[in-house]
């Protein structure tokens, strides 16, 4: 992990002091509501439907056990004993008082954490694969580049006041677990002749206008990563629309200019930037890579250990291994998903007790490292296979061992109308109703990989466009309705990214679980052997699924 030095600590402390001063000036009337809005947003504070919401940055989803314990303490002191894992790998607290936020930030600063640029029209928390530096299928560890981007983008003098928010994701795997095709900038890092290079994808995104990004440069040398980002951001900052917030993302600029003209403008700017600034020194890259060496793993004391017997005697453990455990770079170790998607719990919500427990397990089994996935789960890298059974038992006691990673019940879901002032409709009760209906573990495992993503409004925080099944809350004459789309994909599991297609008119909240049932049944009737939902959909198209909206759909499908 990256280790703060004196400068980092001083910087974060100065940010706290500056924000405390901003808060005081707001409370004593020296800053207007509108001015403070812009300032607090750039430090992670929203005012939501019921109360303020503070979004704490977890850079590229990696934190230490000590940091997670600090979050648990904040959840107990300032929230109602829980926090929420976001789709940008951050943690959100829903009930802080505006006047308390500087104290919360001060407490965060003691463990080298902050809320800088977690909201507002600026460069947001850079995200990556939650198993970066640990996954067996990784080409290059993206984290040194994520940290370089984090440092470069933190209070960047030129790019703190962009037309709109700006999200960057980096993937270093053969399989993309960071959804880089649907970000303002997606970066794929890989090696050519033992040198790291980047493919640069621009203008992807969800929200009101979902778009798969365009690759504007391939094979960019690593020492030009930041000069090239500078060129893109400068073109966006100068020419992106500022008159309409729904047309202000870089995807709209790219579309308006055309990909070719946009790329040309970026390249022309880049040629100038290169002349005016130093490339990233090899020394800087090497220094950063030094922070992200694989930690000293606990020694394997039973070289003949096999999971076979435990799996045979404990079918539930076996299912958990199948779904939630993935291959590590080193023989005898594994990476695990601790699912927050137990029935009856809003997806991504974690209690302070759960945070403390996960921190303890990270210390006991996993080199004190914790990850947060964009699917809103905890993840632990570097676990010995011989410890999996014990860890599974402990996790079961804390509702964190649901064997559903990648299954339909591993729902990605925004806070929705229960919390968010932007939402058109509630999203959490929809997730809950579907999870309750689909409670047969054998059935779910047979159904296999199926991403269900739910957003309460067009802003698409629940990534509904890239769900294999996507559900979007819409408002119809003051009533909550839900629009269902099929065939979206975020790009993981080696399949290309795609955007969902709407199956037909929106349905009422009561109808949603039945329609989902119908969709599943139609899929089961059409699939070849173990074909996944996505593969089946891509083969047969949307037409056969349209009937799922009809009340007699089940009979038709059978």
């Amino acid at each position: 992990m990256y280790q703060y030095n004196d400068f980092d600590r001083q910087f974060v402390n100065e940010r706290v002091a500056h924000y405390r001063d901003q808060t005081q000036r707001y409370l004593n009337g020296a800053l207007s509501e509108d001015e403070f809005l812009q300032l607090r947003l750039r430090n992670g504070l929203y005012i939501q439907r019921l109360a303020p919401m503070l979004r704490v940055a977890i850079p590229y989803g990696t934190l230490s056990s000590k940091q997670l314990r600090a979050l648990a303490s904040i959840a107990n002191t300032y929230d109602r004993g829980y926090g929420h894992l976001s789709t940008r790998q951050n943690m959100q607290f829903n009930w802080p008082e505006i006047a308390d936020v500087p104290d919360i930030l001060e407490q965060l600063a003691t463990v080298n954490m902050h809320a800088i640029q977690t909201s507002g029209s600026c460069i947001r928390n850079v995200t990556t694969d939650h198993f970066a530096g640990a996954a067996a299928d990784e080409s290059i560890d993206p984290r040194p580049y994520c940290e370089l981007i984090r440092q470069w983008s933190t209070l960047h003098p030129e790019f703190e006041w962009l037309p709109r928010k700006f999200k960057i994701a980096v993937s270093g795997g053969k399989v993309d677990r960071a959804a880089i095709d649907v970000h303002d900038i997606g970066l794929r890092v890989y090696e050519v002749a033992q040198q790291p290079v980047f493919d640069v994808i621009v203008g992807g995104g969800l929200g009101r206008t979902p778009v798969i990004g365009t690759t504007i440069r391939e094979g960019l040398p690593a020492h030009h990563l930041l000069t090239y980002l500078h060129a893109i951001l400068r073109v966006y900052n100068r020419y992106g629309r500022r008159d309409n917030k729904y047309k202000a993302r870089i995807k709209i600029l790219l579309r308006a200019l055309g990909a070719e003209a946009f790329t040309q403008r970026v390249d022309e700017e880049w040629q100038q930037v290169i002349k005016e600034s130093e490339p990233l020194a090899d020394a800087a890259i090497t220094k950063m890579q030094g922070f992200f060496q694989i930690p000293t793993l606990p020694a394997i004391d039973d070289p003949d250990f096999s999971l076979d017997e435990q799996r045979l005697t404990h079918p539930e453990f076996s299912r958990w291994i199948e779904r939630n455990v993935s291959a590590h770079q080193c023989e005898g170790y594994a990476n695990i998903i601790l699912s927050t998607k137990a029935p009856g719990i809003p997806p991504g919500d974690v209690s302070a007790e759960q945070m403390q427990a996960v921190a303890d397990w990270a210390d006991q089994f996993g080199c004190s490292e914790v990850r947060i996935s964009h699917e809103q789960n905890f993840a632990l890298p570097h676990i010995r296979q011989q410890d999996l059974f014990q860890l599974w038992q402990l996790a079961s006691d804390h509702d964190l061992a649901t064997a559903n990673a990648g299954l339909i019940t591993d729902v990605i879901c925004c806070p929705g109308g229960d919390f968010c002032s932007l939402a058109n409709a509630k999203s959490i009760p929809i997730a809950e109703a579907i999870q309750r209906r689909l409670d047969d573990a054998d059935f779910l495992h047979d159904l296999g990989d199926l991403d269900l993503n739910i957003s309460g409004c067009m802003n698409a925080c629940g990534h509904h466009h890239v769900g294999h099944i996507g559900i979007l809350g819409v408002d119809k004459k003051g009533q909550e309705f839900y629009q269902i789309s099929l065939g979206g994909h975020a790009g993981h599991s080696g399949e290309s990214a795609s955007l969902g297609q709407i199956i037909g008119p929106s349905v009422s909240r009561d109808q949603v679980p039945t329609v989902i049932d119908n969709i599943i049944n139609i899929h089961l009737s059409l699939r070849h052997q173990d074909e996944s939902f996505l593969a089946c959909f891509r083969r047969v198209g949307i037409q056969p699924f349209k009937v799922s909206l009809r009340s007699d759909a089940h009979d038709t499908a059978a």
């Binding site: 000036r25 209070l155 003098p157 100068r238 500022r242 130093e278 220094k287």
Partner: protein, 138 residues
Amino acid sequence: MTQLLKQQDGVWQITDSQPTDWSPAESFSTGSALKLAVDVEPETAWASASLIAVDFPALTDGRGLSLAALLRQRIGYAGDLRAVGAVHEDLLHFLLRCGFSSFELPAERDPAIALQLLAPYSNFYQGSVMDPLPALLR
């Protein structure tokens, strides 16, 4: 009336703004004082201006920051670069690092607060117009 925040003998001071004979970008001649909108394309000839002001339309409009960086780095303008219009005290440190050297504060801003907010941070991560070296290499 607006207030001018600028350095005199190395010390930041507040004075009353003096009227300036601004020339618009399209009728620029060597030695004149330019007032620019944030969306102009910078021109090489402007390096010889006696003073350049960039007019910020709103607190949230960051185009003037990129324009300032271009005037300093690409055009090579070395004279006084002034932020005018919607200049906010909490943005001074961004403006300074993009190359601005003086600020015309709107009448309703408190100059005492502005003076305190010139440098809320003793250092930054990334290089800038003022200091090309990132923290990582310092």
